[in-house]
């Protein structure tokens, strides 16, 4: 048996997008066939999931190539900071440039333009975020955390922590403990 169909690709695309956006539970408005105005901000993981989900139907989210490069750079940095075995043995700038197959000057220029910070500062920020995460988990001493994050010493970690957050690691630790006490009551 043959089934012949008549279709409207725009309607199909619109309904597909609606289904996927509804699934995410966010409010949105349809601006035109190819444009949706989201009333809420998607988290990076929601954004990634949506991107992968709709790719199956041949629908692609249009991203600015500069944003894509900045995002890839961020991914490389996150991996570098969080996975000990991903720590580059060459210098960081060479490592990033090599992974992206672009000159470091170009990557760092695009990165600063898109993110309003420098690659160096972003690496520090991510390392301190990781230190915070480990402090919150309360499983390691500061010495162990400094070692895990490749700081030469605890004072080195503390100085960078204070410079980045304005707080000492122990003050941060105390605040987290007090917040947990309040939540527990």
């Amino acid at each position: 048996m043959k089934l012949q169909i008549n279709y409207d690709i725009h309607t199909a695309c619109k309904i597909l997008m609606q289904q996927h956006l509804d699934k995410l539970g966010i409010r949105y408005e349809i601006v035109s066939v190819g444009e949706f105005e989201l009333k809420e901000i998607l988290s990076p993981s929601q954004f990634e999931n949506l991107k992968v989900d709709i790719k199956k139907y041949g629908i692609e989210i249009i991203e600015d190539p500069k944003n894509a490069i900045a995002q890839k750079t961020k991914d490389i940095i996150t991996e570098m900071v969080y996975l000990e075995d991903k720590l580059p043995n060459s210098n960081t700038s060479f490592y990033i440039a090599d992974k992206l197959n672009l000159s470091y000057g170009r990557v760092s220029g695009i990165f600063s333009e898109v993110t309003y910070t420098t690659i160096a500062n972003y690496i520090i920020l991510q390392r301190i975020e990781y230190a915070k995460k480990l402090i919150v988990e309360n499983k390691f001493t500061l010495t162990e955390i400094a070692h895990k994050l490749n700081y030469s010493s605890v004072p080195h970690l503390s100085t960078q922590f204070k410079k980045t957050t304005g707080l000492t690691p122990s003050m941060f630790q105390r605040i987290i403990k007090k917040r947990n006490q309040i939540k527990g009551n």
């Binding site: 809420e40 901000i41 944003n67 972003y122 304005g166 707080l167």
Partner: protein, 148 residues
């Protein structure tokens, strides 16, 4: 990656301070949208209006008539609807106890109010740039604390 403008809200009862704040923010490179309110009561009315999109960052002056910054902080942090908002406290005090107490209550940023415009610009620039990183990189808001 989010690249939409960062929505910033300031609650401050001083006319001059609101003006300086807006001018300082407008001179930054980060894409921003600024909303100004005069006191804590206006702030809470604004936030509780279901029609408006909640801001990304709120700057709260501690000393305001009708409803002070601390009371607003408590109200905002007791409503999970506002979990994603970063709260920056503007204060004249810089004692460690005050700073610690404010963070324990759920603030993310503590700012010792600068007296000069150039200094205000410098401070806001680092605060906004850091917020932009949290906003665009999906960093853990629970651990976001910054004192300047």
């Amino acid at each position: 990656m989010n690249t939409e403008a960062l929505h910033i809200l300031l609650a401050d009862d001083d006319d001059d301070d609101r003006l300086f704040f807006k001018d300082a923010i407008n001179e930054l490179k980060v894409k921003t949208k600024v909303t100004l309110v005069n006191d804590g009561a206006q702030l809470m009315d604004y936030l509780n209006n279901v029609e408006v999109k909640v801001p990304n960052v709120i700057f709260l002056d501690l000393n305001m008539p009708i409803k002070g910054g601390m009371q607003c902080l408590n109200e905002i942090r007791s409503n999970s609807k506002f979990n994603e908002i970063s709260i920056a406290i503007y204060s004249t005090s810089a004692s460690d106890e005050d700073i610690e107490e404010t963070f324990v209550k759920g603030a993310n940023i503590y700012i010792k109010k600068p007296n000069e415009f150039a200094e205000l610009k410098r401070v806001l620039s680092s605060v906004i740039s850091l917020n932009w990183q949290y906003y665009t990189s999906g960093l853990n808001k629970q651990n976001f604390m910054f004192s300047i």
